[in-house]
């Protein structure tokens, strides 16, 4: 089925929510409000016509569309704007794909965890938290996966400044 039909099915199931289908080179992207994400994912997985049984990829993105303030030491500091989590779903049975995107305010990016829907999301969510600081509420042990647990800051944010010392060791090269 094409993304359009899937979009119709979703809209008729969650009619009171407002979705947006953004055209894009690599296939349309469905912008989804954060609060209904978990039911939507359960629906996508269990509905016979869709049966999205694999989560291909979950990536955090810093859209950096807030207003940029220039600090005195030359680095930029973004205020406002959005972080986003992008979900690429795939159905082995019907061989069709879907991309969901959830826009999150930069100050407190909270999104419901879909770890119970697809077990693959477990480490992806921990990595997105580690790199962007996106909080996945409901995740069973949300702590840093790649960086040491007491590392400050979220490296993949556009306005990330490397900390000077990490436990007494000089960090910048």
């Amino acid at each position: 089925m094409t993304v359009q039909e899937i979009f119709e099915i979703i809209k008729e199931k969650f009619n009171q929510e407002q979705f947006e289908l953004k055209p894009n080179i690599g296939g349309e992207i469905l912008i989804v409000p954060a609060k209904i994400l978990r039911e939507l994912c359960f629906f996508l997985r269990d509905d016979e016509r869709l049966s999205f049984d694999t989560l291909m990829n979950l990536s955090g993105v810093d859209l950096a569309d807030g207003e940029k303030k220039k600090l005195e030491d030359g680095t930029i500091e973004i205020v406002g704007g959005h972080l986003a989590t992008v979900y690429h779903l795939y159905s082995m049975k019907h061989n069709h794909k879907l991309t969901l995107k959830v826009l999150l305010p930069r100050e407190n990016p909270v999104v419901p965890s879909i770890e119970r829907v697809w077990r693959a999301a477990d480490w992806h969510e921990r990595e997105a938290y580690d790199m962007f600081g996106i909080i996945f509420e409901g995740h069973h042990n949300l702590k840093r996966i790649l960086l040491p647990d007491d590392w400050e800051g979220y490296p993949l944010r556009k306005d990330y400044k490397v900390q000077e010392f990490y436990q007494g060791m000089k960090v910048p090269y």
């Binding site: 894009n24 080179i25 690599g26 291909m56 990829n57 955090g60 082995m92 061989n95 991309t99 077990r119």
Partner: protein, 372 residues
């Protein structure tokens, strides 16, 4: 006699351990010899690939993709390059498509040789490892002849390849394929059907098909559980549909479907399939210029794409977001080993200490790709 108070022991395997295939720390909770729980700790080899990619131009990211899964860097390039070409919808000349398939499949054989060899060492047989590496050297010579490097190639560029095949590449590749069939048979005699090896791997680390799908496993780990799923066939890219070969899945010959032996045997048989593909590709390769479609400056239009290829370890996905400038805005890599490692606790509970090593070896993970 009073109940003997026994306690669980926490054993730290790694990060510096002879058989964790890289810097991975396994925190194993043991009750005597039986494994109660395993928690993998990763991040020791984190080199901030994604932060680097945002500071580099598109062609400069290619040497970085080499270093992710350093055992199949040709296929990392292949995935990245095809993703960017889809963003810019560049049509690559025929000869380049054939060269990419030939190089990709040779890299798959080389990667499986390492996987099979180190799996043999984990079980204790040292000699098959050296036979595998002797054959792998011949593939590396083929790569060095073409692009100059043995492990990290930077050979596939956006829109083409850096060098055309040297004249003596095709005869040498054919000769290698002929000898390789004999050494696969020798490997099977020495290791695959050895009773002790079967005893150590059959019915160990059983992964049922639905848990594998739910955990998002891919590649030989998923096919070992009997799921007939190969991106080259089910989500076709490049020209794999022009060659006839079949997807190998685990059938549980030596134990239940989805045990370590199946995952191992899927890799051995996949090497034979890759030989068939390379043979057919060497037959049908057309002539033509390989660098014609390489753009002077790679500047894809704004947009994002998720493209995935069947790398030797599994489904390698690139999620590239471009904002129209020379540098990618965001490159997220879905590494197959990162996802496959998640099932280690699931398949290791209840088995013995020696079986964790067998399970880890059968997952064939590479830490460069997990930590990025």
């Amino acid at each position: 006699m009073a109940e003997l108070k026994t306690d669980q022991i926490v054993l730290n395997m790694g990060p510096q351990h002879p058989s964790t295939h890289g810097v991975l720390r396994l925190e194993v909770v043991l009750d005597g010899e039986v494994v109660v729980d395993v928690t993998p700790h990763i991040g020791y080899l984190h080199r901030c690939f994604e932060k680097h990619a945002e500071a580099m131009t598109y062609p400069q990211v290619i040497p970085y993709t080499d270093r992710m899964d350093y055992l199949s860097s040709m296929y990392n390039n292949f995935g990245y390059v095809e993703a960017v070409e889809r963003l810019m919808n560049i049509e690559v000349p025929e000869r380049v498509k054939y060269i990419r398939v030939i190089m990709g499949e040779l890299q798959r054989i080389a990667n499986h040789l390492v996987a099979v060899g180190t799996f043999g060492i984990d079980i204790g047989a040292f000699t098959p490892f050296l036979y595998c590496f002797r054959d792998r050297e011949r593939i590396l010579d083929l790569f060095e002849m073409t692009c100059g490097a043995r492990l990290l190639y930077n050979y596939m560029w956006v829109g083409g390849v850096s060098h055309d095949l040297p004249p003596n590449f095709i005869p040498k590749a054919k000769e290698f394929l002929k000898d390789f069939k004999k050494s696969i048979k020798e490997l099977n005699d020495l290791l695959s059907y050895n009773k002790i090896f079967i005893e150590r791997t059959a019915n160990i680390g059983i992964l049922p098909a639905d848990t594998a799908i739910n955990y998002g496993c891919s590649g030989p780990v998923l096919r070992g559980s009997g799921v007939e799923w190969d991106l080259r066939k089910n989500d076709p890219y490049s020209i794999y549909d022009r060659f006839e070969w079949e997807v190998v899945t685990g059938k549980g010959e030596m134990g239940t479907v989805g045990d370590c032996w199946d995952r191992y045997m899927v890799r051995v048989r996949e090497m034979e399939q890759s030989c068939r593909i390379v043979e057919q590709a060497l037959e049908q390769i057309p002539d033509g210029d390989v660098t014609s479609a390489i753009p002077k400056r790679v500047k894809p239009p704004a947009g994002e794409i998720y493209f995935r290829v069947e790398s030797p370890k599994g489904e390698l996905g690139y999620h590239i977001i471009s904002d129209g400038s020379l540098n990618p805005f965001r490159v997220k890599v879905r590494a197959p080993s990162f996802v496959n490692l998640q099932i280690l606790p699931v398949i290791s509970r209840g088995y013995l200490v020696a079986d964790i090593i067998a399970n880890l070896g059968s997952l064939d993970i590479v830490l460069g790709e997990i930590d990025r």
